[in-house]
C-alpha cells in the first residue's frame, strides 16, 4: 500500500484527490458526503457577494454514444448567503479535521472587500484559500474572475492584497483563456501566491439546437458563452500544467485541474508536475463514488511500479517535456503490421492514404487475402496508423537505428 497522503503547499490531505470549486462543493451536506466517499479535500464553491443564476445552465458535447465528453456551465459563484456558507464551512471542518477544506473566493476589485472575505473564510476554519481568477462567464463581465486572471498586473495586485492578511496558504486559480499561461502564473508568484491551480474552464459555445437554432444552453431563446470542462479539455490542461512545471520562475506547487476522470488521468497530471489534482465534471457525471477507483487505481499503479509514495511521482515526467527544437531529428521509427493480429478493417490504409504519407498499401497475399503492407522506405513514423488501429498489438512503431548521433533543429541551426 503506497503512501497517498500529500502536503500541498502546507495543506495536508489523506490523498491527492480534491473536489474542485464547483457545483459538487456547493454546500456543507455535499462536501461532507464527498469526504465520506473518500475525497481527500474539497475547494468550496466560490464565496462572494451572492448572485442570481439563470435557468438553464449546463450544456454538453457527446462523442458517438459517449455522453458528456465535454461540459459547459454558465452557473456563477455561490447563490447562497455568505453567513450560511461560513457556518457550514465551520461545521464541516470541525467534523472532518483531517480532510483539506479550501475556500474559493471572488469579490470585486477592492482591497477592503478582499481583506474582509479572507478574514471571514479563515474565521470559518478554512485550511487554505483559492482565489478564483478564472471564471470565464458572467463574473468576468463584472470585472471579476477571468477579468482578473487575464491581466497579470491585476493578478499580482489582488494576490498581494490577499497575502497582506491571509495566514493560511493562498492558491491562485488561473484561467486558460490567455495566450501564454506563464504570464499570469509569474504574476501570481510575484504577488506572493503559495500555490497555483489550473486550469479553470475554457470559453465555449457548446453547440446549436438544430430545430430551434438557439445555441445551448437555451435561456429563454438566448445563450451566452460558458466555461468548458470535462475529459475533452485534459490535453489543454496537461500542456499548461507542464509549461508551468518547466518554468523556473514558477517555483510553487501546482494543483492540476482539467478533465480528470480516472486514476490514469490523475497520474499523468502528477507526473507532469501537479502536486495534487482537483476533479469536478466526472463527479457531476457519476457522483462522488468515483473516488474509490481513483484511490485504488493509483495505489495499485504505485505498488506495481515499486513506488512508495505518491509524492515521488510528482514532476517525474517534467524533464521529458522539451521544446520541439530540442527533439532528435535522427530518431526514426516505422510502422510494422502483424498480419496475424490484423482484422482487415483497412483503417490504417485509408488514414495513411488520405491523412498521412501514402505508405500503406492493400496487398493481395499468396493465400488470396488482402492485407495492409507498410512501405518502410516511405513511412515517416507519424503514428497515425498505430493510433487508428483497433486491434491490440497489431501495429507497432519500431525504431530503425542506423547509428546516427542524435541531432536537434537547435543544434543544426546554432
Amino acid at each position: 500500500m503506497a503512501d497517498l497522503t500529500t502536503n500541498f503547499a502546507g495543506i495536508p490531505s489523506p490523498n491527492p484527490f480534491w473536489l474542485a470549486s464547483a457545483p459538487p462543493t456547493n454546500m456543507g451536506s455535499m462536501v461532507e458526503r464527498a469526504f465520506d466517499a473518500g475525497w481527500g479535500g474539497a475547494v468550496w464553491k466560490t464565496l462572494g457577494e451572492p448572485i442570481r443564476n439563470v435557468s438553464s445552465r449546463l450544456a454538453a458535447i457527446d462523442h458517438g454514444a459517449q455522453r458528456m465528453i465535454g461540459l459547459n456551465n454558465i452557473e456563477l459563484i455561490t447563490d447562497r448567503p455568505l453567513d450560511v456558507n461560513l457556518k457550514e464551512i465551520y461545521d464541516c471542518k470541525k467534523k472532518y479535521p483531517k480532510n483539506a477544506l479550501v475556500v474559493s473566493l471572488m469579490v470585486e476589485s477592492n482591497r477592503e472587500a478582499w481583506h474582509e472575505i479572507v478574514k471571514q473564510a479563515e474565521g470559518a476554519g478554512a485550511d487554505g484559500l483559492e482565489l478564483n481568477f478564472g471564471c470565464p462567464h458572467g463574473m468576468s463581465e463584472r470585472g471579476m474572475g477571468a477579468a482578473m486572471g487575464q491581466v497579470p498586473e491585476y493578478t499580482c495586485m489582488v494576490t498581494e492584497w490577499v497575502k497582506e492578511v491571509a495566514t493560511v496558504p493562498v492558491i491562485v486559480k488561473l484561467t486558460p483563456n490567455v495566450t501564454d499561461i506563464n504570464y499570469p502564473a509569474e504574476a501570481a508568484v510575484k504577488g506572493g501566491a503559495d500555490a497555483l491551480s489550473l486550469i479553470n474552464t475554457i470559453n465555449s459555445v457548446m453547440g446549436v439546437d438544430l430545430d430551434s437554432m438557439v445555441p445551448h444552453p437555451n435561456v429563454n431563446g438566448k445563450a451566452a458563452h460558458g466555461g468548458y470542462c470535462g475529459p475533452a479539455v485534459k490535453p489543454i490542461a496537461l500542456n499548461m500544467v507542464s509549461e508551468l512545471a518547466r518554468n523556473e520562475k514558477v517555483n510553487i506547487p501546482i494543483s492540476g485541474i482539467g478533465g480528470i476522470s480516472t486514476w490514469q488521468d490523475a497520474a499523468e497530471f502528477l507526473l507532469l508536475g501537479a502536486g495534487n489534482v482537483q476533479v469536478c465534471t466526472a463527479v457531476m457525471h457519476y457522483g462522488y463514488r468515483i473516488v474509490e477507483d481513483l484511490i485504488d487505481g493509483l495505489n495499485n499503479y504505485l505498488d506495481e511500479k515499486g513506488i512508495a509514495s505518491v509524492s515521488e511521482i510528482v514532476g517525474r515526467s517534467v524533464p521529458r517535456v522539451t521544446d520541439w527544437g530540442n527533439l532528435d531529428l535522427n530518431y526514426e521509427v516505422v510502422a510494422r503490421i502483424d498480419h496475424s493480429k490484423c482484422v482487415q478493417c483497412n483503417l490504417c490504409h485509408i488514414a495513411c492514404e488520405d491523412g498521412a504519407h501514402q505508405c500503406i498499401d492493400l496487398v493481395k497475399q499468396d493465400d488470396g487475402r488482402v492485407f495492409p503492407v507498410v512501405d518502410e522506405e516511405e513511412c515517416v513514423g507519424c503514428n497515425l496508423c498505430y493510433l487508428v488501429c483497433p486491434a491490440p498489438d497489431c501495429i507497432s512503431m519500431v525504431r530503425i537505428d542506423d547509428g546516427k548521433e542524435p541531432v536537434s533543429w537547435r543544434e543544426l541551426n546554432g
Binding site: G64, Q344, C345
Partner: protein, 524 residues
C-alpha cells in the same frame, strides 16, 4: 382437430424474432462500428451495400440518408434486413466479430433505417425522365422488384406480372412469419410502386395464346412468381368465376395495347384472397409489346417424395404450409399434434419452428443423413433446437401410412441396417427443395441447362433476343439478396442492350458481365 395454443400465445410466438431497435440501441450499436475502409461487410453482401456508410448515417441521426444508401444498392433492403443469413454474410465478416466475437448488428440496424422510410412514406428515389421504352417483368419477387426499381429510375415504363393476389413473391409468401410479415413485404413493394412501376397481380404469363385464356396445360408446369405453390394455385383457379369481379377486370385481350384493363395491385389496401380471379397473358404478347422482358419467376413446386401415401390428407409441402401461416389466420392453419417435417434445409427449419409455435406438441425434422450434412445454417438449426424440435437423423421416408389421413411416416434407417420403422404422426410436411422451371422455359422456347435452369449469356440475356432472366430461376435457388443483385445487374444489362449506354448502380461495381466468380459459386 388439433388444439392450437391460445391466440395471444401464438401472436407472441410469431412476433418478430429480432425486435426493432430502439433509438438508444441504434445509437450505441451504430457508434460501435469502426467505419472500416473497403469494409469486409460490404464485400460480403451480395448487393454490396455500403454498410459503414449507412451505419455512420444512423449514428448521425440521418436515417433517410441511411435508408437511401441501403435501397440504392438493394431495393429489397428492408426484406433483407429481416431475412438475410447475416451470420453467413455481412455480420460473419464484421471486424468486430474478429476482435471481440460480437459483430455489429448490421441486420437490425438496416431494419432500423429502412423502417424509417417504409413506415413514414418518405420518398427516396424518383422515377427517371420517361425514355419511351418499356420493360415487362414476370414475377414480383426479389429479382423482379429489384430489376423494376432500377429500370424505373432510368425512365423505363415497367409492368410486373404477378400470378399471386399479392406482390412480393417469396418476400410476401415464403418468409417465416416471426422474421417478416406480409405487411412488411408489402410496404417495400409500395416503395417500388411509388416509382411508377405497375404491378399486375392475379395474372400469370403463359407460353402462348389459348382460346379461353386459361390454359390448363401451362399452369402446373411453371409459376409466375418466386412464391408459387401448386396447391394454392389450384384453389385460386377452381374458385374463379365471380362474375362481378370479372366484369370489373374487363376482358382479356391479347391485342390490348396497354395493361390498364388488368387489375393493379395496391399493396396498402391489399387483402389476401383465395377468391382472386386468375388471368393470363401470353409470353409472345409481352415480347411484342415491351422492348425487353425480364424473367424473375423463381422456382416451381416443392419436389415430390415419390413414395406411397403422398396424397393422403395431412401431407402438405412446406411452402404451402408457410403460406397458410402467413395469413395469420391461426385457426385455419393446418396442424396436427405430431408433425414430421422431411428435409433439413432452411425451409424445413421454417416449417418445424412454425408448426411448433402454432401449438404442435411434437415436431420432428426427419433427414436421410446426419447433422453434419444439413444445409440449414447453424443459427437456424440452433433456433429449431431452442424451439424443442426433435431430430430424426439417417432416416429415409419410404411411405406415408394412414386411412385417408396421415397416421404415420414409414422410414428406412440409413445406418446400413436398412431396418424399417414407423413414426406416428398426424401431419407430414415436405421440405425437400423446389422444382426447377425447365418445362416452362422449354414451352416458351428458352434454352435451359441440364438442371432445368434458364441459361443466360455473359450479358445476362437468355437465348431469346431481349429476354433477360435472374434470381432463383437462373441460380437454382439462393438467398433473396442474391436475387436482388441479379435484378440490379439485369437492369443494367437491359439498359445497355436497349440504348448502348452503360450505367452502373450502387454495389454493382464492374459486375455487369457475368463473372467467373459467380459461375464458380453456382454450385446447385
Amino acid at each position: 382437430m388439433t388444439k392450437k395454443l391460445p391466440k395471444d400465445q401464438i401472436e407472441k410466438n410469431f412476433s418478430p424474432i429480432d425486435p426493432l431497435m430502439t433509438k438508444a440501441e441504434a445509437k450505441v450499436e451504430s457508434n460501435r462500428c469502426l467505419f472500416c475502409y473497403d469494409a469486409p461487410c460490404t464485400r460480403a453482401c451480395p448487393t454490396h451495400i455500403d454498410v459503414p456508410s449507412f451505419i455512420r448515417k444512423i449514428a448521425t441521426d440521418n436515417l433517410k440518408g441511411a435508408a437511401r444508401v441501403i435501397f440504392d444498392a438493394n431495393p429489397i433492403g428492408s426484406t433483407c434486413a429481416r431475412v438475410c443469413p447475416v451470420e453467413a454474410l455481412c455480420e460473419g465478416a464484421c471486424v468486430e466479430k474478429t476482435l471481440v466475437e460480437k459483430p455489429i448488428e448490421i441486420g437490425r440496424l438496416q431494419r432500423y433505417a429502412t423502417e424509417h422510410v417504409t413506415t413514414s412514406g418518405k420518398h427516396i428515389f424518383e422515377a427517371g425522365e420517361p425514355n419511351g421504352m418499356s420493360v415487362a417483368i414476370v414475377g414480383s419477387g426479389p429479382a423482379g422488384l429489384s430489376c423494376a426499381t432500377y429500370l424505373a429510375r432510368l425512365g423505363y415504363k415497367v409492368t410486373i406480372y404477378e400470378k399471386k393476389p399479392l406482390a412480393g413473391g417469396l418476400d410476401t409468401y415464403g418468409m417465416a412469419e416471426y422474421k417478416m410479415t406480409q405487411k412488411d413485404s408489402l410496404a417495400e413493394v409500395a416503395l417500388v410502386e411509388s416509382l411508377g412501376v405497375e404491378i399486375v397481380v392475379n395474372t400469370a404469363v403463359a407460353a402462348e395464346e389459348t382460346g379461353d385464356r386459361r390454359p390448363e396445360t401451362g399452369i402446373g408446369t411453371w409459376s409466375a412468381s418466386d412464391g408459387h405453390r401448386g396447391s394454392q394455385e389450384s384453389e385460386i383457379r377452381n374458385q374463379d368465376g365471380d362474375a362481378a369481379q370479372s366484369s370489373v377486370l374487363g376482358p382479356q385481350s391479347s391485342s390490348a395495347p396497354h395493361h390498364s384493363s388488368l387489375i393493379t395491385h395496391h399493396s396498402e389496401d391489399a387483402q389476401y384472397s383465395a377468391l382472386s380471379t386468375q388471368h393470363f397473358v401470353s409470353f409472345e404478347d409481352l415480347c411484342e409489346r415491351a422492348d425487353a422482358v425480364f424473367l424473375g419467376i423463381g422456382l416451381g413446386d416443392t419436389n415430390d417424395l415419390n413414395i406411397p401415401g403422398e396424397d393422403l390428407e395431412g401431407v402438405i409441402d412446406a411452402l404451402s404450409f408457410i403460406e397458410r401461416v402467413k395469413t395469420r389466420d391461426w385457426e385455419s392453419a393446418p396442424l396436427a399434434d405430431t408433425v414430421a417435417v422431411i428435409g433439413a434445409g432452411n425451409t424445413a427449419i421454417d416449417a418445424v419452428t412454425q408448426a411448433k409455435r402454432l401449438g404442435a406438441k411434437k415436431v420432428m425434422m426427419v433427414y436421410r443423413r446426419g447433422r453434419e450434412h444439413i444445409s440449414a445454417y447453424d443459427y437456424e438449426y440452433d433456433l429449431a433446437k431452442k424451439d424443442g424440435i426433435e431430430f430424426v437423423w439417417h432416416a429415409s421416408p419410404v411411405g406415408i401410412e394412414g386411412n385417408g389421413r396421415v397416421e404415420a411416416l414409414r422410414c428406412r434407417r440409413n445406418d446400413g441396417s436398412d431396418e424399417e420403422y414407423t413414426i406416428p404422426c398426424g401431419m407430414v410436411i415436405k421440405a425437400i427443395g423446389q422444382q426447377k422451371q425447365g418445362a416452362f422455359f422449354g414451352s416458351i422456347g428458352l434454352e435451359t441447362d441440364e438442371k432445368g435452369r434458364v441459361k443466360i449469356d455473359i450479358n445476362r440475356m437468355t437465348s431469346r433476343e431481349n429476354v433477360f432472366a435472374g434470381g432463383d430461376c437462373v441460380n437454382g435457388g439462393k438467398e433473396a439478396v442474391d436475387a436482388s443483385q441479379a435484378g440490379k445487374l439485369a437492369a443494367m444489362a437491359i439498359h445497355e442492350k436497349l440504348t448502348g449506354e452503360t450505367v452502373s448502380f450502387a454495389g454493382a461495381g464492374g459486375l455487369l458481365r457475368i463473372s467467373r466468380r459467380e459461375e464458380r459459386e453456382d454450385t446447385d
